[in-house]
């Protein structure tokens, strides 16, 4: 439980900004708003850089005497290759197994003694470690994180046990969950050569073949200050955080990083369909259209507005109970028990706009598939209404405020944006970007990207639960 894994499903990042005031005025033209909101603006992000290349981002939130610290490494499944999938995540587990200074188990005791909650997560593009604690205990956490950045020991006995824990984690997360298994195989089919085809937890056979030396080499290559970002959010003094960071992380030298190959996904030439037959009770659908990401716009490969239009498009389909899927498919025609859409636009590499669905009782999967695709067709032929656009924009503005309620969430946004190469400044661009989206632009991206040549469809066909019991995957 202490070690977790977010399988990179930051589908929609609903954001924060300093633009609340301006854009609320535009949307609601309320005059009382100005005074009220101006005093509630989000505090700025303080940015520092150590001589060794490590970046430090600090954001103040003085509501409670607490802070969250996160150390982010630009390393995850998308840096791995076939045969070593899951290595970044397995290494994350080993990061709790002791350093030259603090032996295995001691670290947890220290963290516990300062009242901190700690954890770590690995995704396709990054690995992060964090502590949430009382603000006067910050230094202890920094010391621990700095220590394990370079001084990890790799004990063979610990590795042997821990890799078994990772396999249990895989069984629990994926192997015994029909929809998780479907998602895993769906990604592997949708992407031919992009590293996003591999599961973050790794294929079981790769976990079985994983060696201690693999983890060791991976650590040596990627866990270096010039590949890391420290994020601190809470009731802290930014300059003091910088001074402490310098004291603990400043002692390390910068190290050359391996070259990261492009691995740009080859062009798809037609619809890909897969069927999964699994012991299950419910049929299920997963469909994905390859789309550019926010990163594509940043690199000048697509117009700046396109990713924002895709983001709004996903919210038109599934941005709450008044969105089209809920209104037309779950209620309306009553053919879906559940339906969702999410734009995976915040990675280091382009990903997909993903649509999922579970048929309502006694409804054929094919019928739901058609209805979902029909909704996509409507986006191409009819402009979305002003009312719908206004609703999405109102939610984005409110979402920005609600998100500030959690300092952990705030820190995670900063760290992930920085680690995928978008930069934390992107937080300020997000809301204006969304608010500028027009109905025509939504139709344009629908016509351009939501087409057969970008589409992969996976269908889960339930098999009886009592037919056979699978043998455990481990030998």
């Amino acid at each position: 439980m202490n070690i977790s894994l977010s399988v990179a499903s930051q589908a929609r990042i609903n954001f924060l900004l300093t633009f609340l005031l301006l854009f609320s005025l535009l949307l609601f033209s309320s005059t009382t708003l100005a005074k009220e909101a101006s005093s509630k603006q989000s505090s700025p992000v303080h940015e520092y850089k150590l001589d060794n290349g490590m970046k430090i981002l600090v954001k103040q939130d003085k509501r409670a005497p607490v802070a969250v610290i996160q150390v982010w490494y630009k390393i995850g499944t998308s840096y791995e290759h076939e045969g070593i999938t899951g290595l970044s995540h397995a290494l994350e587990h080993m990061m709790f197994k002791g350093t030259k200074k603090h032996k295995s188990g001691e670290f947890e005791k220290m963290v516990s003694a300062i009242g901190a909650r700690n954890n770590a997560f690995t995704s396709q593009d990054y690995t992060a470690y964090y502590e949430v604690l009382a603000n006067d205990k910050l230094e202890t956490a920094l010391e621990i994180e700095a220590d394990r950045m370079r001084n990890l020991i790799f004990d063979p006995e610990e590795f042997k046990k821990e890799i078994n824990v990772v396999k249990e984690e895989r069984r629990w997360r994926t192997d015994d969950k029909p929809t998780s298994l479907m998602r895993e195989q769906f990604n592997a089919v949708a992407f031919l050569n992009s590293p996003y085809r591999a599961p973050v937890i790794g294929w079981m056979v790769d976990l079985e073949g994983m060696k201690l030396d693999d983890a060791k080499a991976w650590y040596k290559k990627w866990y270096t200050p010039n590949n890391a970002t420290l994020v601190v959010v809470g009731d802290v003094n930014p300059d003091e955080v910088y001074a402490m960071a310098k004291k603990y992380f400043g002692v390390y030298k910068s190290n050359p990083l391996p070259e990261v190959k492009a691995r740009t996904e080859v062009e798809q030439k037609g619809v890909r369909n897969i069927i999964l037959k699994l012991p299950a009770k419910l049929a299920s659908l997963r469909m994905g259209f390859k789309t550019p990401g926010m990163i594509s716009a940043k690199q000048g490969k697509v117009p700046q507005w396109e990713p924002y239009a895709l983001e709004v498009l996903a919210n038109i389909l599934d941005g709450g109970d008044s969105a089209r899927f809920a209104k037309n498919l779950i209620r309306g025609k009553s053919i879906a028990a559940g339906a969702g859409a999410g734009y995976y636009g915040y990675g280091r590499l382009p990903n997909m706009l993903v649509i999922t669905g579970t048929p309502a009782k006694d409804v054929e999967t094919g019928k739901l598939k058609k209805a979902l695709l029909d909704e996509i067709e409507v986006l191409k032929t009819e402009l979305v209404s002003e009312k719908e656009l206004k609703r999405v924009k109102a939610q984005v503005i409110a979402g920005e405020v609600y998100e500030r309620d959690s300092i952990e969430h705030m820190a995670t946004l900063l760290g992930s944006l920085e680690s995928v190469g978008l930069g934390h400044q992107y937080m300020d661009e997000y809301v204006p970007g969304v608010l500028a989206v027009t109905a025509q632009q939504i139709q344009d991206v629908a016509k351009k990207y939501l087409i057969d040549e970008h589409l992969t469809i996976a269908e889960l066909v339930p098999q009886p639960l009592n037919k056979k019991v699978k043998e455990g995957a481990a030998k």
Binding site: M1, N2, F28, S30, T32, L33, E36, A37, K40, K62, R63, A64, P65, F96, G105, E108, S112, A113, I114, G115, A116, R117, A134, K137, K161, E162, N164, V165, V166, E168, R171, W172, D175, D176, P279, L282, G320, S322, A326, K327, R331, S334, A337, T358, A360, K361, K387, R391, A394, Q395, I397, V401, D405, S406, I407, L465, V469, K470, G472, A473
Partner: protein, 465 residues
């Protein structure tokens, strides 16, 4: 002397921090009889409201799933607006409406911005939901079908199967045994009249509690509370009545093991018995002891023995879930089928040793440091605060519950923990639920195979590879 001084200084520092950390709770009762708990948090321009009623699944009676159905129906029609219009009304101003139900309670929540227009609009819509729910026939028919799909989803999830079997066997004929999402029979038999009568009986002022957290003044909070509480009088409900008390939970009489075959790679294991109540005299002793046993993640005994030392499970834990009456005490883990017996044995041994010896003084100190040092995290967000308000109010805990929390944790002694675990945990009367592995007879689906066994005679899982 010197060290004493240091301790004193630390203690004083600590106390000053606590004063800053615990939010100031104000409470009152409206003229229409609704209890209100309020915390003013000015920093973010947002407001949270949560209306809670003693009307969870424990009150479903012979209609399991009814409470959940009532809360699902609330957003489907009110004051002449249909489900589309209601969703639109909230979402067009960025507000979030939610509702739900647990065993003790049912609730309706609102999160909104406090900017004038949005606040006014969101409150007006929320009031409609509370005042005039329409419970439309067509939506009811659809939600019943959805509920049946939900029950199918439970059947393909070994964790859900285990949890359902655990509650069923732990509570027997007690209302806590009632499956929160109902059964196929109960869902099919449910009528709109059932829904309406449940709503009119339980969603009333005298059975309710309104928690308010956010950037509004106390005057504004009073005004909102008055509006909500007046709205609750509608439909001839008047002030209503408090729900009748939930009966006492009887202890298990013998050890019991339930095995449910399932085509999974792992076995899901849950072991336990009735635990403690909110406001229980042993609450802090059990909470503190369990922190060391299986509640603190990596530093806990269960995690060390089952995961760290042996690599048997990704997650392993124990906890008490205090409720109005005794909620469960539970130990849980998942492990590949061939390791099921070993993992269960290790977990049982840890529990046995802990119950016999209790935590060491050092363990106890470490747990106290973690709980006390981490106290400010408990109320760091509006979301955290409203959770505590609803809990303190619903269970009638003292208003200074949070102010006294660290003090109450700190004063628990080792002897008290040992004593509480001896009196409250009975190793010879544990319930064990194991989901996973081959059925005895290939023709049976996932039907339960029940058997009663003495703790030491528990037979191993069959999947041996």
């Amino acid at each position: 002397m010197k060290s004493f001084k240091v301790i004193l200084v630390i203690f004083t520092l600590f106390l000053s921090q606590l004063v800053a950390a615990a939010p100031k709770i104000e409470n009152w009762v409206t003229d229409s009889g609704l209890r209100v708990y309020f915390v003013h948090v000015p920093e973010l321009p947002m407001l949270d409201l949560r209306l809670t009623f003693a009307g969870g699944s424990a009150y479903d009676g012979d209609k399991p799933g009814l409470s959940g159905m009532v809360t699902s129906m609330l957003s489907k029609g009110a004051a002449g607006l249909n489900a589309d219009q209601i969703a639109e009304a909230f979402e067009s101003v960025g507000a979030e409406l939610s509702s739900g139900s647990a065993r003790d309670m049912a609730w309706i929540s609102l999160r909104t911005l406090t900017l004038d227009e949005q606040l006014k609009s969101a409150l007006a819509s929320w009031q409609k939901i509370v005042e005039k729910p329409d419970f439309p026939e067509e939506d009811f028919a659809r939600l019943k079908k959805q509920a049946l799909v939900g029950l199918q989803a439970e059947k393909q999830n070994p964790g859900s199967i285990a949890s359902k079997a655990f509650y069923k066997n732990l509570y027997g004929d007690h209302p806590y045994a009632s499956p929160q999402n109902g059964t196929e029979e109960s869902v099919k038999a449910m009528t709109l009249a059932d829904v309406k009568s449940f709503y009119n009986q339980y969603f009333v002022n005298k059975n309710g509690l309104l928690s308010i957290v956010g950037a509004i003044s106390k005057d504004q909070a009073k005004e909102i509370a008055d509006r909500v509480s007046k709205a609750l009088l509608s439909n001839g409900r008047g002030q209503g009545e408090k729900a009748v008390p939930i009966p006492e939970v009887k202890p298990l009489q013998a050890a019991k093991e339930i095995r449910i075959p399932f085509p999974s790679t792992q076995a899901h294991v849950m072991m336990g018995q009735p635990g403690d109540k909110r406001g229980d005299k042993d609450y802090f002793s059990l909470y503190l002891g369990n922190h060391n046993l299986g509640g603190s993640g990596f530093t806990s005994r269960l995690m060390k023995e089952v995961r760290v030392k042996r690599g048997l499970s990704y997650s392993v834990y124990s906890y008490f879930i205090p409720m109005r009456e005794k909620g469960p005490f539970m130990v849980g883990l998942q492990t590949k089928l061939s390791q099921t017996d070993e993992a269960i044995k290790v977990a049982r041994d840890v529990l046995k040793k802990f119950q016999k010896e209790g935590p060491s003084e050092e363990d106890l100190k470490a747990s106290k440091m973690n709980i006390i040092g981490g106290f400010p995290l408990r109320t760091a967000s509006n979301d955290d605060i409203i959770g505590y308000l609803a809990m303190i109010g619903f269970y009638n805990l003292p208003l200074n519950y949070l102010d006294k929390f660290t003090e109450n944790v700190n004063k628990v002694t080792r002897d008290e923990v040992v004593d509480a675990f001896k009196r409250r945990v009975h190793l010879d009367k544990m319930l064990t639920v194991i989901v996973g592995g081959k059925p005895k007879d290939a023709d049976t689906d996932t039907n339960e195979a029940t058997k009663t066994a003495a703790e030491k005679n528990v037979t191993p899982a069959k999947a041996k590879k």
